[in-house]
C-alpha cells in the first residue's frame, strides 16, 4: 500500500498523536528488536473485545521496507484491528527476518488499545453532533462505565477464586483423613495376610 522511508524523528512525530491538552495519550511502547530473535507481547482478552493496534517500525540504519499488507507481511508501519471471537491469550510477535543480516537494532512502536480506549470517538462526535468540552465529558463518562464494569468483573473473579479455595481446603481435610484410613486398612490387610500365610505354612 504505502512505501515510505522513515527517519527516526519523523517516525516519532508520525506515530504519536498530537497533544493539544485534550487528546488522551495512549499507551504506545517501543520495543527493541535484536537482529535475531523474537519479541512477543501478549494480553488476555474476553470475548467480543475490540482490539486496535498501530505499529511503526524504525530501523537504525535508515533502511526502508516496501509494501505493507495486513497483519502478516513485511511492514514498516501499519494498523490492524480485530474483534475477539473467543476468550483467550492474544499474542503479537515481532521478529526481524533480514535477508542480508544487519548489525543495527530495529525499534518497533506498538500502540495497543483494547475495549474503551479503542472506541472511535470521531464517529460518535459526528453522529451526535457534539464537540469540544461535551465530547471530552462523554469520553470521561465512557471511562467511568468501563471502571464500573471492571469492578463487577473483579468481584465475580474473586468469588470464583473463593469457591475454588474453599473446595481445595475441604479436599485437603478429606484426603488426609482418607490417607490415614488407607494406611490403617493396608496395614491390617498385611497382618491378616501374613498370619494366614504363616498358619498355612504351619509356622504358627
Amino acid at each position: 500500500m504505502i512505501t515510505m522511508k522513515l527517519p527516526p524523528f519523523f517516525a516519532i512525530l508520525l506515530c504519536t498523536s498530537p497533544f493539544w491538552g485534550n487528546a488522551p495519550v495512549t499507551e504506545a511502547i517501543w520495543l527493541n528488536l535484536p537482529p535475531s530473535g523474537t519479541k512477543c507481547v501478549s494480553e488476555e482478552l474476553h470475548n467480543n473485545v475490540v482490539v486496535l493496534a498501530d505499529y511503526v517500525v524504525v530501523s537504525d540504519d535508515h533502511s526502508s521496507a516496501p509494501t505493507i499488507s495486513v497483519k502478516k507481511e513485511n511492514a514498516t508501519h501499519g494498523q490492524f484491528a480485530f474483534t475477539t471471537q473467543e476468550a483467550g491469550n492474544y499474542l503479537a510477535c515481532f521478529w526481524a527476518d533480514a535477508h542480508n543480516p544487519s548489525k543495527a537494532d530495529v525499534s518497533v512502536n506498538l500502540d495497543w488499545k483494547t475495549g474503551i480506549a479503542a472506541k472511535d470517538w470521531e464517529t460518535v462526535a459526528r453522529k451526535e453532533k457534539i464537540e469540544g468540552v461535551e465530547l471530552e465529558l462523554k469520553k470521561l463518562e465512557g471511562a467511568v462505565e468501563a471502571i464500573h464494569e471492571n469492578l463487577l468483573y473483579l468481584k465475580s473473579r474473586e468469588s470464583e477464586m473463593r469457591i475454588v479455595s474453599e473446595k481445595t481446603n475441604s479436599r485437603v481435610a478429606w484426603f488426609s483423613i482418607m490417607s490415614l484410613g488407607v494406611c490403617i486398612s493396608v496395614s491390617v490387610l498385611q497382618l491378616w495376610h501374613l498370619k494366614r500365610f504363616f498358619q498355612k505354612k504351619k509356622l504358627i
Binding site: I29, A65, E73, L154, S187
Partner: protein, 209 residues
C-alpha cells in the same frame, strides 16, 4: 541499503477467560520497554506483576528487578527483588525512557505490566495557546484521576491472575500428590508382603529364617 523486513504475526493462544488486562511480556534475562515522554514534569505511573510463577519448593523466590532509566542514561527508579509493585515518578526531562525487567534466574517469567504517562496542562500552557480553556485543565485532571483508578484495576486484575495460577497449582497438587501417595502406599505394602513371603518360602532355604 540492506532491506530489513519485519513480519508481524498475531497468533492466538487459547488459555482462559479474562476481561481487562495489561500487556504481558516474557522475561528471560533482561527485557526492556521504551516509552516516550513529551513534556518535562509529566507523571509516569504504572505497575507490574509477575504472573507465571511456578515455584516448586520454596515460597521465597527473590522476584525480578525493575529499573527506570531516563533519556540521559541514569537510573531514575529502582525496585529490587519483587513479585509485583506499583510505581510513580515525575519525569525530570522529556525524552525516551527505558523500563527494564531483569530476571536473576534462568526460568523465564511472564510479567504483566502497564505504563502510563500523564500530562496536565498548566496555566502557562493555557496562556500560550488560545485553544486551551481553563476548563481543559480541570478535565485533564479528571481524566488523570480516572486513569489512576483504571491503572489500579489493571494491577488488581494482574494480581488476581497470579493468585489464580497459585490456586490452580495447589488444587492440582492436592489431587495428584494424594492419589499418588495412596498408590505408592499400596504398592510398598504389597512389596513388603511379597518379600516376607519369599523369606519364608521353601525354595530359598528351609533353615535360614
Amino acid at each position: 541499503m540492506e532491506m530489513k523486513q519485519i513480519y508481524v504475526l498475531a497468533a492466538l493462544l487459547l488459555s482462559f477467560v479474562a476481561r481487562i488486562s495489561s500487556l504481558s511480556i516474557t522475561v528471560n534475562d533482561v527485557e526492556c520497554v521504551y516509552e516516550y515522554v513529551f513534556y518535562e514534569g509529566d507523571a509516569i505511573s504504572g505497575n507490574f506483576v509477575v504472573v507465571d510463577h511456578d515455584i516448586f519448593w520454596g515460597s521465597d523466590h527473590p522476584g525480578i528487578d525493575f529499573t527506570v532509566s531516563s533519556p540521559g542514561g541514569n537510573v531514575v527508579h529502582n525496585i529490587k527483588g519483587t513479585s509485583g509493585d506499583k510505581f510513580e515518578l515525575k519525569a525530570p526531562r522529556s525524552g525516551m525512557y527505558k523500563f527494564c525487567f531483569h530476571n536473576p534466574f534462568s526460568t523465564p517469567e511472564t510479567v504483566s505490566f502497564y505504563i502510563h504517562v500523564g500530562h496536565i496542562p498548566n496555566e502557562h500552557d493555557v496562556a500560550k495557546d488560545e485553544h486551551l480553556d481553563p476548563i481543559n485543565v480541570k478535565i485533564a485532571e479528571l481524566r488523570e484521576a480516572l486513569e489512576s483508578v483504571t491503572a489500579e484495576q489493571k494491577y488488581l486484575r494482574a494480581r488476581d491472575n497470579r493468585h489464580r495460577h497459585t490456586n490452580e497449582s495447589t488444587r492440582k497438587r492436592v489431587i495428584g500428590y494424594t492419589v499418588g501417595e495412596y498408590i505408592l502406599l499400596a504398592a510398598v505394602s504389597s512389596l513388603q508382603v511379597l518379600y516376607i513371603r519369599r523369606l519364608f518360602s521353601k525354595s530359598v532355604s528351609y533353615n535360614r529364617v
